[in-house]
Amino acid sequence: MQPFPFSAIVGQDEMKQAMILTAIDASIGGVLVFGDRGTGKSTAVRALAALLPPINAIKGCPINAATAKDVPDWAGLKTKRAHEMPTPVVDLPLGATEDRVTGALDIEKALTKGEKAFQPGLLARANRGYLYIDEVNLLEDHIVDLLLDVAQSGENVVEREGLSIRHPARFVLVGSGNPEEGELRPQLLDRFGLSVEVASPKDVATRVDVIKRRDAFENDNAAFMLRWQAEDAAIRERILTARKALAKLKTPEKTLVDVAELCLALGSDGLRGELTLLKAARAYAAWRDDTALTRAHVKAVAPMALRHRLRRDPLDEAGSGTRVARTVEEVLG
């Protein structure tokens, strides 16, 4: 069954916006969705795939290489022809073993032909695409360590069982989870560009809408998909337009100062916060079809770009999102 269409998700505007922004500029670095049970986290992430424009890659290449010279030797490809393929969205299940994530010795070949070959893992498949981890806060520690390293360097190094292989693994991390069930290590938090918190809608009318659409999706699938796939296609077009506009977008000095001041006032660690905020604001401006970056764009994306980068204040019951919003008001007015 096809996933629930992205555009049919009722409300949850911040989450949808964050996903669109990473689709416009992959270098923002992914989205983390945190929220209660039954708020549509997983639905939204699974729907993301339909929004992503296709990429050009060499046919049959295990790492989705863009050009023939990037295809690794161990892939053993004879013909290297490019074709258009959907952006890979790879699911990293909780039970995945280290072998499956990084790749390992190809046991089949080892047994039948007695040759030492490399079988690529999930990280290879996710190259140039998205890596999605549901329940990211429950991931085993050793897998997290592995991901941290690869997400940082953009390269997967496999040194085991007499194999020595390295291949590019540049992917956008998308994660979802329920914070009640466990915290995320700050190091991994930092690897996500944007983070959003979702909650169930509180008013009955919106809730009825949600249920209606879900009901239609389940019981009248064909008509429902037909209607919303058109809307998804419209969003995809707009993402492509925004990608082109991004290159021409002007970034005035004034806005850079705004960004730096905001991050200073919030005391976010490192410079990653500034960079992500700037990239997200630019993507947002491009999405809005504006020609220059302004303070309004920065204000709009500041909560999602910065909320997970603050030092956690255990006494702040309102959550860091409110803290960012307050500081944004104070600094940028």
Binding site: R37, T39, P93, L111, G182, S200, K212, P314
Partner: protein, 543 residues
Amino acid sequence: MARESWHHATRALQLLALDPGLGGICIRARSGPVRARLMEMISPDARRLHPAISDEALFGGLDLSATLASGRMIREKGLLETPCTLVLTMAERATTGLAARLAVALDRSTNHNLIALDEGAEPDECLNPKLAERLAFHVDLSECALQDIIPTTPTAPIALRDVRMPTDLLEQVTRIACDLGIDSMRAPLFALRATRANAALMGRTQITSEDVEIACALTLAHRATRVPEPESQDEEPPAPPPDQNNENQGPEDSLDLPDELLLEAVRAMLPDNLLEQLAAQKARAGRGNGTGAARKGNRRGRPLPSRAGHISDGARIDIIGTLRAAAPWQTIRRNATGRDGLHIRPADIRIKRFEEKSDRLLIFTVDASGSSALTRLAEAKGAVELLLAAAYARRDHVALVAFRGTEAELLLPPTRSLVQTKRRLAALPGGGGTPLAAGMVTAFEQAVQATRRGMTPTIAILTDGRANIALDGRADRKQAATDAQQIARVLRANGVDAIVIDTGNRPEPALRNLAQTLDAAYLPLPRADAQRLSKSVATALGD
């Protein structure tokens, strides 16, 4: 009631068989004849799984022996690969990790079904909420006896798609779920599905009020977080909004069922002690943060009996156990294969397991203010010293926080050094205001750091309770009390265990409240000597 719950359980199973999209059912009952009778209704091809099931069994993996024997790679099929009914026994023991894996499987495919057998005895011992959320039904058979069992009458079900759903039902069910304080959007969807399935089960193409009532009772009651007052459901008519001229909306399609009636049906299912149960669940939610007191691993710690298992990452083979398991078969295997030597099959492999107890950290948070100093500081010091001795014997870590004047001070970071602690404690001066909140904040910071290092912190607060300095250092009795309460809530939300020792001459009601907010033991110790204090604390800490 008992007969009703049996009826509900059987009906839920029938509905589940008809529409697997309902996800599953959680049956709370101890193992016994009643549950056995219910299990007879479950299809015999259901696969059983247990809470300690390995990832390989769930997702499949390499079949080592078959692969080696045949020379080609042979994969074992995992339980989750083929859609089927899964029966999870001892569901209350399922870890968050297993719950998450099963939850993903249920999300992916509508043909997976989970029947969770919850044998929990205590109210806070129940199926993981992540999993419970994805199961439409929950029935409690603990009150049910054999005499309550009534045979189910077979029905002639019709196809689900033949049932016509009234258009306003969707809104009504959503509204009711909202009134019951159910946040999740899955609940109303399950209620709708169950309504349809019930009508189909009864062979009706039209929904009747009975379908809606039983569906709401089965799917909504156990999720309710508040009991709606009958009065608060004011006389406002349900007011179906002027609907779009939908072609399938005939006059016979709308169902005239007042909200009150439905709520009544749900309310009849609500347990009498709903609020207590909710409190128990909250307390549990605060505790379950992954760094428990004892962790099972296969690397280090106290050895546990080894167990059959696969050789996987990080597992260590228990050679003696493996040989012992293989020994009885040697003759048979030798005769069967005609080969000499030791025959070890994958099923013989035993894996070592260890249990690692995380160290406990006692954070003494001692009130050294003027009011305490006058009366009880010396006694409190004596008690802490005795506790220290006990802690030393158990190799617990100890930290010491004192609060007086306008702020709190960490006198001693977590340590095992008894001598140092005693010296710092003896040198502790008294006098000044009572900044209780500040003391708790400092203790909390220590607790959080300790948890990160894998310790299990417990905060012991010794005070006479008259907090009079607010967090910002102002002398404001009212603000000070509010601050203390707020931090107590944070402590509880973070699952930090605490104990409050009232060292005042008379028990202080404010402290009792504080202990309640903390979900902590409260020990009023008027005129107690150090020996008794130490004894009570040791009891409260569960030694």
